[in-house]
Every structure is written in structure tokens, then in C-alpha cells.
């Protein structure tokens, strides 16, 4: 297990280094930030001075080297726009994004798995068909358009929920959260539901597919033949076996939920990292874009690792480490 974890850590650092280079080169290609940052009437000397102050006059590889040296010390550069360290800017915004993503995931799990089970157990009944039809609709709805419709219905027509912002926050262990205040909950409801919808359909379909394949297995037939109540067969024999892919997907999708939060945050003006990314792209704020991506990559690596470990705990057939021959 320890050897496996170390090998994974090595691989992850390699991926991180590779991504940082690709991202740095890619972001370097985005326009020239000097044009936006310096007064358009400034003369060439002034531009050169600004470029020098920001380190933009050096060759790409030198800039990357300087970036790596600073990154090793935890410094991912200063935002051109806000003039504070980029990493600080992102860490300030991260709790909002994580709160949104986690709430959306919880909503998706609480609704998706029961519906998927029902649809999988009774695939040909009207209820099974309706759930599947609903999931196709949910799957097809583009996230941003659902967001618009939610705003249209609940904010403009009914006036129940606020269309943007995060509302009042309280501090929980030093982290500002919205879900503990009524105002915060009212602000959180629509974005979280919006973000949950895509994963909700995915979970319904995954649970249904797993259930349909599992109920055909001999051990389920045997359990039924033994006279076990349906509740026990579904709750223990079926659910336990389909939970493996489901937990894997929920874990892996957490990253994608954080990524899709970019869209939801833009629509609902939720002050998280996704909105920060879009604003930074529009303002050519390179250090923030690079820092955001590195933080996201790091989050992904952690998520993938945790999912792998969970996977081995859930499924005794997969034992991490036993695959590697002992030397």
C-alpha cells in the first residue's frame, strides 16, 4: 500500500509538472497583457518598463523557469489585475466553489440513486420508463440553459429566489459558508440544483444500468430462491455490487462538478473560482489562470487517489499493491 501510494505520488508530480508546462505555454499564447494593463496612450518606453516590472520581457523558457522556482516556494505569481498573490485570490474563492460543488453532489446522490434503483428494478413499467425519459431530458439540458430557466421562473416570474450572489455567510472553522444562514440557503438553492442536474441524470442511468445487469446474475436469483425478502436482496446483494462503479463515478465526477461550476458560477454570479477564471481569461490575467489550473489539477490528483483507495476498500477483488510482484 505504501509503495503504491509513493508510486502514485511520483506519477502525480510528473503529471503536475507536465500540466504546468503545457498550461504555462498555452496561457502565454493568450494575447499580450501589456496592451490591457498599460494606459493606451503610454509610449514605448513606458510599456517596456511595465513589461520589465512584470517580467514579461524575458524569453518564454526563462519566464517558466522563474515561475517554477517561485512555485516551489508556494508563490504562483501576483495577479496583474488585483495585485495580490494569485494563490491567495484563488484560496479566497475556493470555499464558495467547494460548497456549491459538494451541495450539488449531495443533491444528485440523494435523488439519483433511489430513482435509478427503481428504474433498474422495473425497467418496463411506466414509472421506470418515466424516470428514464426524465433522465434523458436532464442529460440533454445544457447546464447554462437550465440556469437561465431557473432564474426566469424563480427570480423573474415568482420572485422567490435571488438571481445572483452568495448571500450572507457565516464562518465555520474559519471558512465562510452559505448553507447555515437562511439568506445563504436561498442563494445556494438554484445554483446547486442547476449544477446537480447533470450528475443527477448520470447517477440515475448508472444505477439503473448496474441494477439491470446485476439482477440477472445467479447470486441474485439464488438469493431470491432462498426466499430472502426483496428489500434485503436489493439493499444488500444488488446495491453492494453496484456501489463500486457508482462510488468511483461520484468521486471522479466531483472534479467535473468543480469544472462545470465555471458555467453555473458565471450565470448566478456566484463568487467562486470558476467566475474568477472566466473574468481572468477576459482580462488576460495570466498568473491567475495558471494558478487556477494548477490548483484544479492538484485537486483532481487528490480526488483520483482517494477514489482509487476507496475502490480497493469497497471491492475485495481489487487489492491495491498486490498487483505489484514482491521483490
Amino acid at each position: 500500500m505504501a509503495a503504491y501510494a509513493l508510486r502514485r505520488l511520483g506519477q502525480s508530480l510528473l503529471v503536475l509538472a507536465l500540466m504546468s508546462f503545457l498550461v504555462f505555454v498555452g496561457v502565454y499564447a493568450i494575447g499580450n497583457p501589456i496592451e490591457l494593463l498599460v494606459n493606451p496612450e503610454a509610449d514605448d518606453a513606458e510599456r517596456a518598463r511595465a513589461a520589465q516590472a512584470l517580467g514579461l520581457d524575458k524569453p518564454l523558457l526563462v519566464q517558466y523557469g522563474v515561475f517554477l522556482l517561485h512555485a516551489a516556494k508556494g508563490d504562483l505569481g501576483r495577479s496583474f489585475v488585483y495585485n495580490i498573490p494569485a494563490i491567495q485570490l484563488i484560496l479566497q474563492r475556493l470555499p464558495a466553489t467547494l460548497e456549491l460543488a459538494l451541495t450539488a453532489t449531495v443533491i444528485a446522490i440523494l435523488i439519483g440513486i433511489p430513482l435509478g434503483l427503481v428504474a433498474g428494478l422495473k425497467p418496463d413499467s411506466w414509472i421506470g420508463r418515466s424516470i428514464m425519459a426524465g433522465s434523458i431530458v436532464g442529460f440533454s439540458l445544457p447546464t447554462f440553459w437550465v440556469g437561465l430557466v431557473l432564474i426566469m421562473v424563480f427570480s423573474v416570474q415568482l420572485g422567490w429566489l435571488p438571481p445572483n450572489g452568495r448571500g450572507a455567510t457565516v464562518s465555520l472553522l474559519g471558512v465562510p459558508v452559505s448553507f447555515l444562514t437562511l439568506d445563504g440557503l436561498r442563494h445556494l438553492a438554484m445554483p446547486a440544483l442547476n449544477l446537480a442536474l447533470l450528475k443527477l441524470s448520470l447517477l440515475i442511468r448508472l444505477t439503473r444500468a448496474g441494477t439491470r445487469e446485476t439482477v440477472l446474475q445467479d447470486y441474485v436469483k439464488f438469493a431470491r430462491a432462498k426466499g430472502l425478502p426483496m428489500r434485503r436482496v436489493v439493499g444488500v446483494h444488488v446495491l453492494k455490487n453496484i456501489m463500486i462503479p457508482i462510488v468511483t463515478v461520484i468521486g471522479l465526477e466531483l472534479g467535473s462538478v468543480i469544472a462545470f461550476a465555471i458555467v453555473t458560477e458565471s450565470i448566478f454570479a456566484w463568487p467562486g473560482t470558476g467566475k474568477l477564471l472566466i473574468d481572468s481569461i477576459n482580462q488576460l490575467d495570466r498568473p491567475v489562470i495558471v494558478a487556477y489550473l494548477l490548483v484544479i489539477v492538484a485537486i483532481f490528483i487528490v480526488i483520483n487517489f482517494v477514489v482509487d483507495v476507496l475502490y480497493s476498500l469497497l471491492d475485495p477483488r481489487v487489492r491495491i499493491g498486490s498487483a505489484a510482484p514482491a521483490h
Binding site: I30, F144, W145, V156, I262, V263
Partner: protein, 307 residues
């Protein structure tokens, strides 16, 4: 009937044998009425999109046909010239119905073009990985793994931020995020097929390798690929719309459905819903029709569900 057909003279027999898998496939597909509805909608949407320049009430991008006095009219209003705007007008006095027809054209073009290109690229790389194996296989699949561990939207967003706007650029971005799905699917199917006896038989017959790969292995890898490709067209259209909505996809001169929706977003809070809402419906119906077809294809082509 079938027995009689099988015993028919050779030329008839060949026709029956060539046709029957298709017939069986069509019959199984038609078992779901929802899927047939999806297919019918899809054909209709494609026809409407292709015919847009001829059937749209106005050319929404010919400024001479627009009248600013007609701007932001609600659905069903009449223009100064006496025409009816069934779906209202946008901020420039553009007929939304016409804008949607033209937008659908752009959305479908981008979706189909990127899918075909990604399919070709993924197919080539996946087949190469499966057939040659070794370091080539390891390299291709490693890249695919790393890429698939990141959400498509994130990669596309960064690419477009670097590349800029335009139809060609968004297709490049969509191909980049999609090829890996095909490569993986083809590779795993090809690895299974390669072990089968008919391939062995073909090798014993000393058929050329290219013939074995393209005529024997490839056709048998197609069913899962068809399912993936259908789902991915819907994905591509949705992703393009999302990126355009965020202002990173298509330029304003080539407004897809996503851009039309983005354009109406600012008027939403003042109750002028139609500028965003109707393009959204068009987008939704398109994606849903494709997904309905894909869903049934998956069930028909999945051998694991055959009892």
C-alpha cells in the same frame, strides 16, 4: 420464410444475407417509440437547418432587412411592415425564428464536423495502438488517460482562451477533447476482436495485414463506436453552446444557438424571456433527439443485455 430464403438460389441468398442484419437492427431499433420520435425529430431538424436560407422568414444577418424600431418585440408581434414575428425579435430587431434556424445550422455543422474529425483521428490512433502495441500503444493510451481525467469543458476552455474565437478553432478544441473517447473504444474492441478465430483464419489465409485490419477487425469494432459517436455529437453541440455562452466559442458574426442564448441573457431579468428561451428550446430539442436515438442504439447494440 427465412428458411425458404436461405435455400434460395445463390444470388438471392446473397441479397438476403447482406440485408438481414440491417433489417433485424432496424426492427429492434423501432421497438422503442421514443427512439423513433427522436429519429424523426432529428431528420426534421437537419432538413430545416439545411434549408434555412430558403425557408427562414428573413435573412437575420442582412442588416438591410432589419429595423431597429422592431427590436425586442414579444412573440406574435407585427412588424411595421406588417409581418408577424412568431417568436419575437432580439435587441437589433432580428426575427428570432430566422435567427434560430440559422443558429441551428451553425450548431449542427460544428457538432457533426467535430465529431467526424475526432472519430477519424481516434479511430486511426486507437487501431494503431491496438495493432502495433508496445511503446506506441503505451504512449497513446497514457495521453488519452491523462486527458480523460480532466473534464472536457476545462480543456476546451483553456484551448479556446489560447486559440481565440472562430468556427475552425472551436472544432479544433472539440476534436482535442473528444478523440480520446474513440481511441479508447476502438482499442479495447480491436484487442478483443484480434484474438478471435476469424482473424486467425484470415491470417492463415495469408491475407494482407491492411485487409485484416480494415475489412475484418474494423467492421466488428463499429457497434460500440457508433454509440459513442452518437452521444458525442450531442456532447459537442452542448459544449459548443456552453463555450459560446461563456463568450469563448464562436464570434458574434457566426451566432450558434449558444450565442443567441447568451445574447438574450442580459434581457432576461427584465422579463424579455424570448430572446434566450426559444433558442434554448431549439438547442434542447436537438440534443434530446440525438440522445433518444443514442439511448436506443446503446440498448440494441449492447450484447450484454441480450437474454
Amino acid at each position: 420464410m427465412r428458411i425458404a430464403a436461405d435455400r434460395a438460389p445463390l444470388e438471392d441468398g446473397r441479397a438476403v444475407r447482406a440485408e438481414s442484419p440491417w433489417r433485424r437492427f432496424a426492427a429492434e431499433f423501432a421497438q422503442s417509440r421514443l427512439a423513433l420520435l427522436g429519429l424523426a425529430l432529428l431528420v426534421l431538424l437537419a432538413a430545416v437547418a439545411i434549408a434555412a436560407p430558403w425557408i427562414a422568414p428573413q435573412n437575420p444577418y442582412d442588416l438591410a432587412q432589419l429595423d431597429v424600431l422592431d427590436s425586442r418585440l414579444p412573440p406574435g408581434s407585427e412588424s411595421l411592415a406588417g409581418k408577424t414575428y412568431w417568436l419575437g425579435t432580439d435587441d437589433q430587431g432580428r426575427d428570432m425564428l430566422s435567427a434560430i434556424l440559422f443558429g441551428l445550422r451553425i450548431s449542427l455543422t460544428v457538432g457533426v464536423a467535430s465529431t467526424v474529425a475526432a472519430l477519424a483521428l481516434g479511430l486511426a490512433l486507437g487501431l494503431a495502438a491496438a495493432y502495433f502495441g508496445g511503446w506506441l500503444d503505451a504512449a497513446i493510451m497514457r495521453i488519452a488517460d491523462i486527458q480523460l481525467s480532466f473534464p472536457a469543458i476545462l480543456i476546451a476552455l483553456i484551448l479556446l482562451a489560447a486559440l481565440g474565437q472562430g468556427v475552425g478553432k472551436i472544432i479544433v478544441a472539440l476534436v482535442t477533447v473528444q478523440w480520446a473517447y474513440y481511441a479508447r473504444t476502438v482499442r479495447s474492441a480491436a484487442l478483443v476482436e484480434r484474438q478471435k478465430e476469424y482473424v486467425e483464419a484470415a491470417k492463415v489465409l495469408a491475407l494482407p495485414e491492411a485487409r485484416i485490419v480494415f475489412r475484418h477487425i474494423l467492421p466488428n469494432c463499429l457497434p460500440p463506436l457508433i454509440v459513442v459517436a452518437t452521444v458525442q455529437v450531442a456532447h459537442a453541440i452542448s459544449l459548443e453552446a456552453t463555450l459560446s455562452f461563456l463568450g469563448l466559442g464562436l464570434p458574434i458574426t457566426e451566432p450558434s444557438l449558444g450565442l443567441l442564448i447568451a445574447n438574450g441573457f442580459q434581457y432576461l431579468l427584465s422579463g424579455k424571456y424570448w430572446i434566450s428561451f426559444y433558442p434554448g428550446i431549439a438547442l434542447l430539442v436537438t440534443i434530446m433527439a440525438i440522445n433518444l436515438v443514442a439511448d436506443q442504439l446503446r440498448d440494441v447494440l449492447n450484447p450484454r443485455l441480450k437474454r
